[in-house]
């Protein structure tokens, strides 16, 4: 199939909206890491970071919807409506489109649970939200395998950029979290910061920067 160009507008629309979806999902994931680490976007209030995270995710769903519908409607390949949400049920490239369906299912689950925030328990919401990384990862995998678009040129740089950005963000998040003061040590750490040597709890090495 590779190398044959399909001149249908639907096929192009599907590929284009697919790329935009991947970019948006990458942005959403990066913003999610930023929200978690209480990071700021320069010049913007704190609620803008969470607001952008939410709004981009909704925009991503819109683009994914177009991406998926145009692909199904396109007459050249047989995909079938149910394959959008039921993984591995498409006649055309069942495996890689299945990965895409998984991604979409996860994104929908994330959106729905987030809309229901406050009505489900905090712990349940948090546990489900970890699936975001899986949603992004499967979106990237689906993008790389469903067509050869991202294998060369600008789109290759884009794909690599997305992967590097999220990987970098995850590494940064883990590193920062590693330096967080554990809950049980927070009071002792604050005392370190404030108090003369004689007051410090035994076994602590000395002052730290900031306790969160």
């Amino acid at each position: 199939m590779s190398g044959i160009t399909h001149s249908t507008a639907l096929w192009y629309a599907s590929r284009a909206t697919g790329v935009v979806s991947l970019l948006l999902l990458t942005g959403v994931t990066l913003l999610g890491v930023l929200v978690n680490r209480q990071g700021r976007l320069p010049g913007l209030p704190r609620f803008a970071v969470t607001g952008l995270h939410r709004n981009l995710s909704l925009l991503a769903v819109a683009f994914v919807a177009v991406h998926v519908v145009t692909a199904v409607l396109d007459p050249y390949v047989t995909i079938g409506l149910t394959a959008i949400v039921i993984p591995f049920s498409s006649p055309y490239k069942p495996l890689w489109l299945g990965v895409g369906a998984i991604s979409l299912d996860l994104v929908l689950a994330l959106i729905l649970t987030s809309l229901a925030r406050g009505r489900i328990s905090r712990r349940l919401w948090r546990a489900l939200h970890w699936l975001a990384y899986l949603a992004w990862g499967s979106a990237l995998l689906h993008s790389l395998t469903s067509s050869t678009d991202l294998h060369s040129g600008v789109l290759l740089y884009l794909a690599v950029g997305c992967a590097v950005a999220v990987a970098g963000a995850v590494i940064w998040r883990i590193a920062q979290a590693g330096r967080d003061v554990p809950v049980e040590e927070r009071a002792a750490a604050t005392l370190d910061m404030m108090a003369p040597r004689s007051v410090r709890p035994p076994g602590r090495r000395g002052p730290r920067e900031h306790i969160r």
Binding site: V35, Q38, R46, F47, T50, G51, R117, G118, R122, R212
Partner: protein, 67 residues
């Protein structure tokens, strides 16, 4: 039956969105943690209160029945 705004201090990690979205009722202390005004929530602020409660990244802000 008016409700009361309260923060669960064990969940709060000082993101500070609530103070931006609801400055009429919430200010931040010198360490970045919210100080929530006592008493029932005024009706005129209902929309902003609901947004602040939903937008808290850790769901620490709660609207509870008045005691």
């Amino acid at each position: 039956m008016r409700k009361q705004l309260r923060v669960d201090p064990t969940a709060c990690s000082g993101h500070g969105l609530c103070a931006e979205l609801l400055p009429e009722l919430i200010t931040l202390d010198e360490w970045g943690y919210p100080i929530v005004a006592d008493g029932p929530v005024p009706r005129s602020l209902d929309r902003h209160v609901r947004r602040a409660v939903t937008d808290c990244p850790v769901l620490a802000l709660k609207l509870l029945p008045a005691p």
